[in-house]
């Protein structure tokens, strides 16, 4: 299946899309990309959906460490650090 004619440049524009989405594209790259997507529905949709993906990832707050997991970690570390300290002293 052949791609629409206006999308023949899409592959070349991949790097530009990454830079554009990351806010690192200069004026020239932005204009080039904009000129391309004006005529390319496929790339417009791609850009919008990728932008949404990036926003979703960046907005993901992650989760807090559950209190029992936090306590397990500290009890584990205290035990292990203590045993290493003792073995260091013996050495």
């Amino acid at each position: 299946m052949t791609r629409p004619r206006e999308c023949r440049d899409c592959q070349k524009l991949q790097d530009l899309i990454v830079e554009f989405l990351d806010g690192e594209a200069g004026q020239e790259i932005s204009s080039r990309l904009m000129m391309h997507i004006v005529d390319c529905r496929e790339c417009t949709a791609l850009l919008h959906s990728l932008n949404r993906v990036v926003r979703l990832c960046r907005a993901d707050p992650g989760c807090d460490v559950p209190s029992h997991v936090h306590e397990q970690l500290w009890s584990f570390l205290q035990t292990r650090l203590l045993s290493r300290r003792r073995s260091r002293r013996k050495a």
Partner: protein
């Protein structure tokens, strides 16, 4: 006089840098290492959780990661930031665990996670409406599933760049990749995420 008084005002203490804490820990001060653990406990837990998908494994991987960090800290040479070094340890520990888990059970990474509701319990409380809270929960689960479905080399880049907010240069240093490779993997990873999340975009 006024000037004299001004001079007596103590300047607010600057927070101790990670590098300074590492140096102290290398000199045998365990309290410095404990402060590093306090600083990065949440980040390391999230890295492990994103890769492993459940609380039990994430908890054990986090313990393992910090223990290794403690053990290998004397070899840390300040060529990268402490966090990127710790990140590598946490992902390596999680990947080893993931591979071990995959072998006997052939668990598909595409399978839904959080069936026991653990993830839901740990998410922030969106109190607007029950529907909105539910939508957020589902979206957060799908986001984690999509991330876990990525090939390892793409996932590492997406996680550092888009979830942890590191710059391309920082990712390149952390993963020892060229900037071009970071961009290429990032783009491919995002494309896969987009496919997996198509219904929610």
């Amino acid at each position: 006089m006024a000037e004299g008084k001004k001079l007596q005002v103590a300047a607010p203490a600057l927070p101790v840098t990670d590098d300074e804490l590492v140096r102290r820990a290398q000199a045998g001060k365990d309290e410095a290492f404990e402060e590093l653990v306090r600083r990065y406990e949440r980040k390391v837990y999230n890295i492990c959780y994103r890769m492993l998908g459940n609380e039990q494994d994430a908890s054990e991987a986090m313990q393992d990661a910090f223990l290794r960090a403690y053990r290998f800290l004397p070899r840390f040479q300040f060529k990268s930031s402490f966090f990127t070094w710790l990140y590598r340890i946490a992902t390596n520990v999680s990947l080893t665990r993931l591979r071990r888990r995959r072998q006997p059970e052939s668990v598909s990474l595409d399978e839904p996670v959080g069936e026991d509701g653990d993830l839901a319990l740990e998410l922030p409380d969106h109190r607007h409406t029950p529907e909105e809270a539910h939508r957020q929960r589902v979206l957060a689960e799908k986001l984690q599933e999509a991330l876990r479905s990525l090939p390892e080399e793409h996932r590492r880049v997406v996680e550092l760049r888009d979830f942890e907010g590191l710059s391309n240069e920082e990712v390149s240093r952390a993963l020892k990749l060229s900037i071009a490779a970071v961009k290429s993997r990032l783009h491919r990873g995002r494309l896969t995420m987009r496919e997996k999340l198509a219904a929610y975009l």
